[in-house]
Amino acid sequence: MIKKIKGMDPNLKFYTSKIESEINRGISKLCILAIINQNGDKGIHGYQILKELQKETGDAFVIEEGTLYPILRKLEEEGMIRSQREEIGRKKKFYYMTTYGKKVFNYLEGFLSKLIEAIAPLFDIKVKLKIEKYIFCPMCANKIEVKDVIPKFCDVCGYNIENEIRKRGLKIE
């Protein structure tokens, strides 16, 4: 963001943009995963990922085009996502979440949500987690969707979440 600003003190610009890049690096990966996850079985291609990211964040969070594809490639290499080319038309490459990717993403989503909630007072901001929609594992912060029936154990760390489920009057699998 700061890179675009002209006429700034170069030293300040250099330092702030460096920290900005450090913060963005991890978040970029997570945001890409979030968009791929949102698109589920429909899948999504690279260009669309950037467009949706711009739309969802109101242009506040931008991933450079040159950065997107190496990240997608790395995520695929790590088994987090898989890709498939269109069989007809321009043969665009669509990306989908793998079972493993979904599991990791659920955890990272939970971790980030809890982290933001915890550090929010430091920046004088208010964060409200959607606890009516999700249970956050007390042990690892894994994000578990509230459904009719919920498994007794967290699928990431294996912690018994029976108490959390009972507190909300939900059924245990």
């Binding site: 291609h45 690279g46 260009y47 490639r73 665009k92 490459k93 493993y100 979904k102």
Partner: protein, 343 residues
């Protein structure tokens, strides 16, 4: 006209990106897919920027400027490893391993040099000092060259798996896909199961050939006028050892990619046989001046004497090769330990 220029402009851009891509990526078929995807991206961006639903020459130009330079795009593919003192964390274990091998080889070569000096009777007071100096100097050169190579490889984004064969890389890819499908992270054990530690067919074929040659040597198939009795006796011993080694290799093939502990035991037995292999060759080296290989009928003594030096060189080469194969067996024993943990 406009269409050709647009396409040409994009193709030129893609060509430049391809040129800038790191070597490890260019070697893979995958780079074509990356470039196709990038091309598709440019077309979509240009279409959107034109605002007319169709890309124009101007919108293509604008899209290419916004996407970044070919150098910038390619640079992202080089940012692959985690930095650790100029060499990435991923390349570090391989770097240490290569340095270890270099040091081992330098020490082994110097030890062999000492043995040859001792055997040829050219011993003097400074040989130990010289050997130590040679090891230090050799390692210094080796360390410098290897470090420079690994820094460059790290800057280019190489990973150790980029040096694996296509087949092994494909197996690894399958292991990652399978683990992802099962919803779990890929483990080193997944790679081990995808990479067999032995190719049974080739080991059994090799062992069988060795077995036939061994029997031919033991049963002395050579006409009696060719070799001297001493050399025939030597060939019989070599034949017996070859039979032993071949049987062990056939057994390895039969066990296949199972029972890593049994494979380890076989490698220990192979090491013993290989040490025994060296004894007849040492004997031959020492008896070169008293007896020659060939009978006087087959080769006159004056010619045989002239050839003595050549025979000596051949025997020394064999005596160098045998310890190297012993090192290979030791390496395999260590490597098999990983498979034992897996089974």
């Amino acid at each position: 006209m406009s269409k050709i220029s647009k396409e040409k402009m994009i193709k030129e851009f893609i060509k430049k990106v391809k040129k800038q891509l790191p070597g490890w990526l260019k070697e893979r078929k995958e780079h074509k897919e990356i470039l196709d995807e990038l091309e598709e991206h440019v077309w979509q961006k240009a279409t959107e920027l034109s605002g007319t639903g169709r890309p124009t020459l101007e919108s293509v130009k604008k899209a290419l400027t916004q996407i970044g330079t070919p150098q910038e795009i390619a640079k992202e593919y080089k940012k692959r490893g985690e930095p650790k003192i100029y060499i990435t964390k991923e390349m570090w274990p391989l770097y240490i391993k290569v340095l270890g091998i270099i040091l081992g080889l330098i020490i082994a070569l110097n030890l062999l040099n000492l043995i040859i000096i001792y055997l040829t009777g050219q011993v003097n007071d400074s040989i130990i000092g010289n050997a130590v100096n040679n090891i230090q100097l050799g390692f210094l050169y080796g360390f410098t060259i290897v470090t420079i190579i690994f820094v460059i490889l790290s800057m280019e984004g190489y990973f150790p798996e980029d040096f694996l064969s296509k087949k092994k890389r494909k197996n690894r890819r399958k292991a990652i896909e399978l683990a992802a499908k099962e919803g779990r992270p890929v483990q080193p054990a997944d790679f081990l199961t995808s990479e067999p530690f032995i190719y049974p067919a080739s080991v059994i074929i090799g062992g069988s050939i060795g077995l036939i040659i061994g029997f031919l040597l033991v049963f002395n198939i050579f006409p009696s006028f060719i070799f001297t009795d001493t050399f025939l006796y030597f060939l019989e011993i070599v034949g017996l050892l070859l039979i032993g080694e071949s049987i062990l290799n056939i057994l390895r093939g039969i066990f296949g990619n199972n029972y890593p502990e049994r494979h380890q035991v076989i490698h220990v037995l192979l090491i013993i046989i290989k040490i025994l292999w060296m004894l007849p060759f040492f004997y031959l080296l020492n008896s070169l001046y008293v007896s020659s290989f060939f009978t006087e009928i087959f080769m006159p003594p004056e010619i045989a004497t002239e050839l003595i030096d050549d025979f000596e060189v051949i025997i020394i080469i064999i005596l160098i090769i045998i310890p190297l194969t012993i090192i290979e067996d030791i390496y395999k024993i260590v490597k098999l330990q990983k498979y034992i943990k897996l089974y």
